[in-house]
Symmetry: C2
Subunit: 343 residues, 2 copies
């Protein structure tokens, strides 16, 4: 009894269509046809093949199929490494969307900005049928995909909007609503906590808020930047309030920072939110609904956005000549109770 490891009972090699064909006494082509949708095969043949397949535990080899059909039936989904609680949910929903369409998801995460080139390389090597990009991308990379004829759909990236399909939430509109409502409720001293410098989403949000403030005649605004994390939200409030300065409202570029702001305002500075300080966020993540915060925010319609993104990508895969398309969704206005706001 000195053998190491599990004794192999079954065949070491996985069954192929030839094995099935032999056992069923038919040709390999026949087996192949039985495992396709539009193929012609008689009832008798189908039955014999299926029985042989069952007996051998045969499954069509998707790799081999991909080689001959030039379709991997895989799409790449790329997300940045987010301090943000928003993306995991997007990822799960996207996966389900593709799954429903019988498409597999090859997942790539970007730990660091420079990883993007490696990831691009991998996506090309694996012959993904399409790419759903929820991370930074630059011109030359877009060009690589275009010249390789790989459909690309951007998620919440405005970048190179003219050439590439995209799905996004109207960040600016959301911020404009927030600012408008806050202003109407009497807020005048605004502070903004933006996200990371390299986040286009953050830039849009901040620009949207500033633009609306400008339109309302408010041009003196303090802008700090965070990194989308809870901790950076707290830190920003410390910076804002430490020297006795006071604000009516803090507009955080996302919910996680907004929550940090609330905790810092309440904890360290003993301020009541929203009575003494209003705080608003963006995204509509789960924790924003916790009673302790009940955040006033703009919720991105993830369900509709992911469905649209998957649908667009599939369409572009099926018809590569299709012109780029852009779908913009308005965020849902969540009144919450972390801000004194005009209904």
């Amino acid at each position: 009894m000195s053998g190491r490891g599990q004794k192999h009972v079954g065949p070491r090699r996985r069954a192929t269509s030839y094995d099935v064909a032999e056992l069923a006494g038919v040709s390999q082509s026949a087996v192949s046809r039985v495992f396709q949708r539009g193929a012609s095969a008689s009832k008798a043949m189908r039955a014999r093949v299926l029985e042989a397949a069952e007996q051998l535990g045969y499954r069509p080899n998707a790799i081999a199929r991909g080689l001959i059909t030039q379709r991997s039936n895989m799409v790449a989904v790329v997300i940045g490494r987010q301090t943000n609680l928003f993306y995991p949910e997007v990822l799960v929903q996207l996966t389900e969307q593709f799954s429903q369409r019988d498409i597999r998801v090859l997942l790539f995460t970007l730990a660091q900005e420079r990883d993007i080139d490696l990831v691009v390389e991998q996506m090309l090597q694996y012959r993904v049928d399409g790419i759903l990009m929820a991370a930074m991308l630059n011109q030359s990379q877009v060009e690589v995909f275009r010249s390789a004829n790989i459909p690309l759909v951007l998620f919440n990236r405005a970048f190179e909007a003219a050439l590439t399909s995209s799905v996004r939430c109207d960040q600016a509109e959301g911020e404009r609503w927030l600012v408008q409502s806050l202003h109407a409720a009497g807020h005048r001293r605004f502070a903004i906590i933006s996200g990371p410098e390299d986040s286009s989403v953050s830039a849009e949000r901040t620009q949207g808020a500033l633009a609306q403030l400008h339109d309302l005649g408010v041009d003196e605004v303090t802008v700090l930047s965070g990194d989308y994390s809870y901790a950076s939200g707290k830190a920003a409030v410390h910076t804002l309030l430490q020297n006795g300065a006071r604000y009516d409202v803090v507009i955080a570029a996302n919910d996680a920072m907004a929550i940090g702001c609330i905790d810092a305002a309440r904890g360290k500075f003993g301020l009541s939110v929203p009575d003494e300080l209003s705080v608003v966020g963006f995204d509509g993540i789960g924790p924003a609904r916790f009673d302790a915060y009940n955040l006033t925010t703009v919720r991105q319609p993830i369900g509709r956005m992911t469905a649209a993104a998957a649908e667009m990508l599939v369409h572009r895969i099926e018809d590569p000549e299709m012109l780029p398309e852009h779908r913009v969704f308005s965020g849902e206005h969540v009144l919450g109770s972390s801000a004194r706001i005009q209904r």
Copy 2:
């Protein structure tokens, strides 16, 4: 000028090793060798090939390579659709772990329990080199993988522990610590909110807590069950306290529910946490650290667990004869301040 869509400038077909070989004036084998690690090729050859490849935008076709080498260099990662904020983080970290080892991740999510069979089918068809399972799995499915010789590593599943490698957090030990500490601090009236019936993790946690309580002579314990969600935590507290019953502590099977408990206790019942009611959770998710909660909990060492899981799976892929291995990690004891606890 009636053309629809983008005019195709580049070649419609992706370059193959033959194209490169022709341009470089060498054989296809040579091209193949240049794009491998252990292959022999002269400096001159390598240079010519690389230049031709560059010129044609050639990338080795990983699909074709997989067919011949019998290695897809892909692993499947399966996660359940979790109300739980814990898994997204696991997913991202696993992906990075595999990515570092030059392995791609094919992601599968289980929206519903019955999807598992579909997913199993897909994993087999795509010839993944290994499977990392962070979702429910039953005996017959394990058997399918075993007979197909596909390495399988379970993440936080004790199921069929003897036959399959696994990485998990010691749920029972964590609960025992919590109970022990709470008891030592004088708590006597315990309520437990378990997770979904079909969650083995929840079962282990609840059993662990009950066992320790029993050891301490506490046998009268109220046990309710939730679904891991914030809302179900709140609901459970309503049920517990509505008829005037009082408890010293609520032990929730995860952090999300614990946070729900805290909000319900403070909000609806005006109880001070931890002064009038202690609440503890499990997992150590991000929101548990929010100041409003600062949850007393047991944090799963995700970084070490994911690293161990990836490593184990890779080892098993490289040596299929390897015996099953089990790694159990102790959770980190987070004192927090949502419970009056013995340091």
